[in-house]
């Protein structure tokens, strides 16, 4: 029976992992139709910031939940002002520019931090379910992911900021005609998206070994999760994370992690083929 509980917790962890790592990308893609291929590197920089602060003596929780999102948010702001701003409406050029940026960031981090793996110990001890030892930190990640999704949903649904953001998302010109400056909205959206990626990097730092090149492993899964999720940021990302997380872990338990990942990717193709506009293109049509 407790083996079943362990499997369930692992599934929840995977869903949380996918939701967390793709939240930043979902906000940017969902709102601005901009595909940020440097998203993986933003997550990586979030991790490095957390570790650098921890080494400098700053409390790990503070570093992870506050400093990392702030630093990566500022990085996102700079990048948006220097590069992305000139490329709105040109999807392919934005992808190419952000691909260049990701290579640039990997190079910079390698210069600054060198290339040996860095990381920090998980601050929460383990606990037992029956005869199984489980990582306590996984629960923390599930909690953060759930909290993040709820907060984002509330902001989008009920606040004026959310309304304006959704308006700009639907139709940039209409939002402009109502006096909202789309340029400013996009600037803040990209910054928030980057901050979310930083948060994901910070929170995940204690669980994965960090290397400058680790970003590439995040981008593929996040990209597929967001696109399959469809236009609506929260419900889209959540529903695709739910589906992919479950399939990935169940198959991983049944056979091997690599088979789990292949199963997830195959499911992505089937979903995209059946629902060309993504899950929320068909179901929960007008949700946030």
């Amino acid at each position: 029976m407790d083996y079943f509980a362990v499997v369930l917790l692992e599934i929840l962890y995977m869903i949380a992992f996918l939701a967390l790592t793709s939240a930043g990308l979902a906000v940017v893609f969902g709102m601005m139709r901009v595909i940020n291929l440097a998203h993986g590197e933003f997550v990586m920089v979030g991790g490095y910031t957390t570790i650098a602060c921890y080494r400098a003596g700053i409390d790990l929780w503070f570093a992870m939940l506050v400093v990392a999102p702030l630093v990566v948010g500022v990085l996102g702001l700079i990048i948006e002002r220097l590069v992305i701003r000139h490329l709105y409406g040109r999807m392919i050029d934005t992808m190419l520019a952000t691909w260049g940026l990701s290579l640039l960031i990997v190079g910079l981090v390698t210069l600054i931090f060198g290339n040996s793996a860095v990381s920090v110990q998980a601050p929460i001890s383990s606990y037992e379910i029956g005869q199984y030892q489980m990582g306590g930190y996984n629960l923390f990640i599930i909690a953060v992911a759930a909290l993040l999704m709820i907060v984002l949903w509330l902001v989008m649904r009920f606040t004026r900021l959310g309304l304006v953001a959704r308006g700009a998302m639907q139709n940039r010109d209409v939002a402009a005609s109502l006096g909202y400056n789309p340029g400013r909205i996009y600037m803040w959206t990209f910054t928030v998206g980057a901050a979310l990626s930083g948060l994901a990097g910070g929170v995940l730092a204690p669980l994965t070994g960090l290397l400058p090149s680790v970003g590439s492993s995040y981008i593929a899964k996040a990209f597929i999760t967001v696109i399959t999720g469809g236009a609506a940021i929260i419900t889209g990302t959540l529903s695709s994370s739910l589906l992919f997380g479950t399939v990935n872990q169940i198959v991983s338990f049944a056979s091997m992690p690599v088979v789990g990942e292949i199963a997830m990717l195959t499911l992505a193709i089937i979903l995209l083929r059946l629902m060309p506009q993504g899950i929320t293109g068909r179901f929960f049509k007008n949700s946030a």
């Binding site: 595909i35 590069v83 000139h86 490329l87 040109r90 999807m91 392919i92 050029d93 190419l96 520019a97 691909w99 260049g100 940026l101 990701s102 290579l103 640039l104 960031i105 990997v106 190079g107 910079l108 390698t110 210069l111 590439s216 981008i219 593929a220 990209f223 597929i224 696109i227 399959t228 091997m256 690599v258 088979v259 990942e261 292949i262 990717l265 195959t266 992505a268 193709i269 995209l272 083929r273 060309p276 506009q277 993504g278």
Partner: protein, 350 residues
């Protein structure tokens, strides 16, 4: 942006083609043969993407899937058969078959380009993850062990058709690759000038209208997708013969991104663009390899960002537009000049 008439593809510049052929013939005396060979292979790979994306508007994030599949098919087939002619054909046929299936699924499913980009990306990722996990000795096709992350080394390379003993490598391989590139360029030119090619260009311009003319857009797009996959397979097979090893890295995200960068920096909507992009950036990547001071990804990333911001439509189209504008400017000045002369002469005459 039509460079000249003829459906925006411009007349085949036969003089330029002859010069290029001559250049390729002489190059081995000047440049290192080995480097030139791999640059031309990357050019052929970029040409296949350039035709599909630049002229038919089909964006594929996973074009490396067919490049890798061509390489692996050749390696496995040549290890089992020993003689390279059939493996060469298989290396084009099997990627074409896969592309036909995936293309039909996507195009008849009327999928928009962003989602098409994702599906093609996912296909490559699946192949990468599968091939990467075939290290166990259970994974073998005939005598060829797939070898997972280590890839398949030391398979018989291309040989002169009919004589397995006469293997082609070094300068011999260079000429075979150069010939393949020139032939494929001519094939692309012929396709674009043909009725089939013009319908493709029509599809890129306005797919709905082309359908309302009674052309089945999905059929045409699947056909060109399959043709380009075969060409990428050929490039993969030549690469396998050059590198004498095939590894899962051929299917990687990096390989797909690289060919996209070559094509865009070179210039979409032209055939020469992707080729020059591949040669230029390919050479840069190799030169970067010879120094260990600056981190390579830093440099390549910086170059990429600058090109996107400063030369958005790629090098070749920018050059062509500049030449066109310069031509127009000269014409204007000469017209003004002759007008002045005429006025002066009338002034004197009147």
């Amino acid at each position: 942006m039509s460079i000249s008439s003829n459906f925006g593809t411009g007349r085949t510049n036969w003089l330029g083609f002859a010069l290029a052929t001559l250049g390729l013939l002489v190059a081995p005396a000047v440049f290192d043969v080995n480097t030139m060979t791999v640059l031309l292979i990357w050019s052929l790979f970029a040409l296949s993407l350039g035709l599909m994306w630049g002229y038919a508007g089909i964006l594929s994030f996973g074009h490396a899937a067919y490049f890798g599949l061509g390489a692996y098919t050749f390696a496995v087939a040549s290890m089992n058969i020993g003689e390279s002619t059939v493996p060469l054909l298989l290396a084009m046929l099997i990627p074409a078959l896969l592309a036909a299936v995936i293309g039909a699924m996507m195009f008849y499913g009327r999928i928009s380009d962003v989602y098409m980009g994702v599906i093609t990306l996912v296909v490559t990722l699946i192949m990468f993850k599968f091939i990467n996990s075939t290290a166990g000795d259970a994974y073998r096709i005939g005598d060829a062990r797939l070898g997972g992350f280590n890839g398949i080394p030391a398979f018989p390379v291309l040989n002169v058709p009919g004589d397995p003993e006469l293997q082609i490598y070094g300068i011999g391989l260079y000429y075979v690759v150069a010939a393949a590139l020139l032939l494929c360029y001519l094939l692309c030119r012929w396709v674009l000038a043909s009725w089939f090619g013009r319908v493709l260009i029509g599809i890129r311009e306005n797919e709905a209208r082309v359908e309302l003319l009674g052309y089945s857009a999905p059929l045409y797009k699947t056909a060109v997708f399959t043709l380009c996959a075969a060409m990428a397979g050929l490039a993969g097979c030549l690469f396998a013969s050059w590198a004498e090893i095939v590894t899962p890295g051929l299917f990687s995200l990096g390989q797909s991104a690289e060919v996209i960068i070559f094509t865009i920096v070179g210039g979409l909507g032209t055939l020469v663009g992707p080729i020059l992009g591949a040669i230029g950036l390919g050479m840069l990547k190799l030169l970067l390899g010879e120094q260990t001071l600056i981190d390579n990804s830093l440099l390549l990333g910086a170059i990429l960002v600058l090109v996107v911001l400063l030369l958005p439509s790629g090098i070749v189209p920018t050059f062509l537009r500049w030449r066109q504008r310069r031509g127009a400017m000269l014409a204007a000045r000469s017209k003004a000049g002759s007008a002045r002369r005429r006025r002066r002469s009338q002034g004197e005459g009147a």
